[in-house]
């Protein structure tokens, strides 16, 4: 009998298999998050909030308290929880549209205030749930439903570099990184450091994860990974931008 792969203890078995499309990156990010929750032993302290967009499908993903919020509003809801109950570990989970477009004022101001919450953001270069429109993170020239001839940066600007922005406005003590679902081991380390930052109470923590959307990209497995590993990383550099206790720009 084949052994089932180990799933994080914090995952809720009753809601698996999960609801994301085949090949979607959300499952990988949430697996890394689940393993971090297990290793840190914080399942009973988690309040998980999900945005509207594909990330909303994670509302019953964990055996943890979870709140579906509104599109772009996950950061303030979780900030509200954290301010009232500082002993809870608050994780705001969202996509690039939720974090960098409709909810950007919340992300910027939560980062500026150095809120002791963790924001985990999936960057897949488009709005997945609504059918593949151009997102703040759509690459130059990339075709989407609202940029059918390719993203024209003259007319629509350049892709948002979220971690760079957050890193620029957070004080020392915050944690900021960009990981990728193509390197899950590294992504998991980043998420763990982000949660440890919250546990230590030193500052805001933010991890962007490069993620795949084969449904809207209309790519097969090979092209999907090629896009994540080769195309996206040309624009979105993977690595840590700010680590508590370490000098910047290392």
């Amino acid at each position: 009998m084949a052994l089932a792969p180990n799933m994080p203890k914090a995952w809720r078995a009753e809601t698996k298999p999960h609801k994301f499309c085949p090949g979607c990156g959300h499952g990988l990010i949430l697996k890394a998050l689940g393993e971090c929750i297990d290793e840190l032993g914080i399942q009973d302290r988690i309040v998980f909030g999900c945005d509207i967009g594909c990330s909303l499908l994670s509302w019953d993903f964990f055996n943890a308290d979870a709140i579906q919020t509104h599109h772009g509003r996950t950061t303030p809801v979780l900030t509200g929880v954290k301010r009232a109950r500082p002993d809870r570990i608050c994780i705001a989970y969202m996509g690039d549209g939720g974090g960098y477009a409709i909810g950007s004022q919340h992300l910027v101001n939560a980062a500026s205030r150095n809120e002791k919450v963790t924001v985990l953001l999936a960057n897949n270069c488009n709005y997945g749930m609504t059918g593949g429109q151009m997102a703040p993170t759509t690459l130059p020239g990339m075709k989407t439903e609202t940029s059918p001839y390719g993203r024209d940066v003259e007319a629509t600007g350049n892709p948002t570099q979220g971690p760079e922005m957050v890193s620029a406005i957070t004080p020392e003590g915050a944690y900021v990184a960009r990981g990728t679902t193509a390197n899950l081991r590294q992504l998991k380390k980043m998420i763990k450091k982000a949660l440890e930052t919250q546990l230590n109470g030193t500052g805001f923590s933010f991890v962007e994860a490069l993620s795949a959307c084969p449904t809207n990209w209309r790519t097969n497995a090979k092209d999907t990974w090629n896009f994540v590993e080769k195309e996206m990383t040309q624009y979105f550099k993977v690595g840590e931008l700010k680590v508590p206790g370490e000098k910047e720009g290392k």
């Binding site: 309040v47 979870a66 303030p76 809801v77 509200g80 109950r85």
Partner: protein, 361 residues
Amino acid sequence: MADKPIKGEKRFFVTGNEVVAWAALAAGVDIMYGYPITPQNEVMHYWTRLAPKYGRKFLQTEDEISAGFTTCGGVFSGARAFTATAGPGNTLMQEPMSMAEMMRIPAVFVITQRGGPSTATVIYSQQEVTLTCFGGNGEGMRVVYSPGSHQELYDYTIKAFNTAWKYRFPTFVLGDGYQAKMRESLIMYDPEERGIQMEPTEMIVGKEGTPGVDREPAHLRNTYNTEEELNVVVNELVDAFWKAAPEIVEHQEFNCEDADIVIVAHGVVTRAAQAAVKELRAQGKKVGHFRPITLRPYPIEAMKTAIAKAKEIILVESAEGQLDKIVKAELYGSQIPITPYFRPGMGITAEEIIEFINKKG
């Protein structure tokens, strides 16, 4: 750290915004979230001065959308939490208010109405009645109190927290710029000493124990996949609201028993209406006044009784017919004529009401 903000009973002569801050303290509010907008600002000013002395918290957010959503977050974690806003801020806050409606979040919102539409004036109006009662993409499953004096501002701010937590609907104290900014005397008191038990709050998320092991996780939704699924949820909301409504509705009436004319007005305008009734009665006119204290749910049964013998309603409000719309919908089928006296964005005095009634003969 001081224990109770108010001990026994104390007379104050203060602005309405200060009243709200004291009432929230006395009600045991744990945290306020807010964003500056006139004429609400001094609620935050007094709260931020008083709250730390009693171990209460405050967060100034980046906008009213965030103020509303952080308030919802605070309530989810079991805090007695509120925010205050007005005008364009009320417009922005409809988004979190709609989430509060859908998810039965017992958040309290204090509204100090200013002129509208748009930025308009920072002074006064009753133009946020429709927005506060029926705003958002929902069905208006909200409780809205319309106080008329500083004493009521104090009483109903305390009551709003109890109504919210007892019935689990977002609850509003709909004041206005006059009430916010003017000074008036009132008695402040500790609710417990008056026999008012504060409804206990409850952690909606973050309860003790490991979810999935010791207890079920709280998985809170506001997104549904099918029409049928949503319909069940909305029907439950609607049923719960109308079941609670008879316990929630409140009103006041003045000389309605034998009145030919009944003035209908709410909020601060009730004071002009009450004074007008006194004067017109002295002139020998059979005039009464009905005042809804809850605009949502509306005290329609009491109103039907109050106007049973009347020949006419005069609807007086500082808006172009927002209360009027509610009244007409509630009175559907009644033949009683309704004469409007609308002054959008302007105050209304007793003299003006008296003159209006005397002129029409």
